[in-house]
C-alpha cells in the first residue's frame, strides 16, 4: 500500500477546487473516486432552532498557527486508519470573509467511492469540533464570537457509536 498523501493549508486567499483536485491527484495511482466538500459563508446565520438571524455582513476566522495544521493532520491520519484512502487535501481559510465566499475545502482520493465519502464526511465532522479555529460574525456593525453548535458535537460523537 502506498503511503497516504496529506496536504493541509491554512490561508487567507481563495482556492480553485479544480486545481486542488489536480494537485491531490498528482503522483497518485489508480484513483477511482474523489469526494470533495466545500464550505461557504452563508448569508444568514441560523440559531439552533433553525430560525434565521440577521443578515451577515462579514465572517472573521482566527486560527492557532502550527497547532491548527497539526490538529487537522491528526484528523486526516485517523480517517486513513478507518478507510482505504490514498490522498487528502484540506484547505481552511482564515481572516475576513464575505457572505458566499468559500471557507473550507476537503478533498479525498480513493480507489472506491464509499471510502472517499466516509472519510470526507468524517474529516469535516471532526474538524468542526477539534480543529483550533474560531469564527466571529459581524452583524449590524457588531462583532460576536460564534458559539459551537451542539448538533456538530452530536454528529461527531456518532462516528464512535
Amino acid at each position: 500500500m502506498s503511503p497516504l498523501k496529506v496536504e493541509v493549508r491554512i490561508q487567507s486567499n481563495d482556492f480553485d477546487i479544480e486545481m486542488e483536485i489536480e494537485n491531490l491527484r498528482l503522483d497518485l495511482a489508480n484513483i477511482g473516486a474523489i469526494v470533495t466538500f466545500c464550505g461557504l459563508v452563508r448569508e444568514f446565520e441560523c440559531n439552533e432552532a433553525g430560525r434565521n438571524l440577521d443578515v451577515l455582513s462579514k465572517l472573521i476566522l482566527e486560527h492557532y498557527p502550527g497547532m491548527t495544521e497539526k490538529c487537522i493532520e491528526d484528523i486526516v491520519k485517523e480517517a486513513a486508519n478507518k478507510w482505504n484512502i490514498e490522498g487528502v487535501i484540506v484547505v481552511h481559510r482564515v481572516g475576513t470573509l464575505n457572505p458566499n465566499e468559500k471557507i473550507v475545502f476537503v478533498g479525498v482520493a480513493s480507489a472506491h467511492r464509499l471510502e472517499a465519502f466516509r472519510a470526507a464526511e468524517f474529516i469535516m465532522d471532526y474538524l468542526k469540533v477539534h480543529a483550533t479555529l474560531w469564527k466571529k460574525i459581524v452583524i449590524n456593525g457588531e462583532q460576536k464570537w460564534i458559539e459551537p453548535k451542539s448538533s456538530d458535537h452530536i454528529k461527531f460523537q456518532s462516528w464512535s457509536d
Partner: protein, 88 residues
C-alpha cells in the same frame, strides 16, 4: 517570589478579547506551577476572565498539545487557552 523561568501565555477567540491586560510573557513562580495554578492566578487577577477559563469545553494546550490541569509548566513552554472551536 523566586522566578523559575519564563513561559508564553496565549489566548484565542473570545478569550483573547477579554485578556488584553494579561502579559504574553509570564514567570513560573510558586503560585504558578501547574495549569491549575495558572488558572487560579488568572482568576484572582481578573475574575471576568477567570470565569470564562473554567467554562465547559475550554481546553489548554502546551506547545500545541492539549494538556490536563495538573500539567507542570516548564521554562519556554507555550501555554494557550482555547475556547470551544467553531471552524469548518
Amino acid at each position: 517570589m523566586s522566578s523559575k523561568g519564563i513561559f508564553r501565555l496565549l489566548f484565542f477567540g473570545r478569550l483573547r478579547d477579554i485578556s488584553h491586560n494579561i502579559d504574553e510573557n509570564q514567570a513560573i513562580k510558586d503560585e504558578i506551577r501547574s495549569i491549575k495554578d495558572l488558572t487560579s492566578w488568572l482568576d484572582a487577577k481578573d475574575p471576568v476572565l477567570g470565569k470564562e477559563l473554567v467554562k465547559p469545553f475550554v481546553l489548554v494546550s502546551v506547545n500545541k498539545n492539549i494538556v490536563k490541569n495538573d500539567y507542570i509548566i516548564s521554562e519556554g513552554d507555550e501555554v494557550a487557552f482555547l475556547p470551544p472551536v467553531t471552524g469548518g
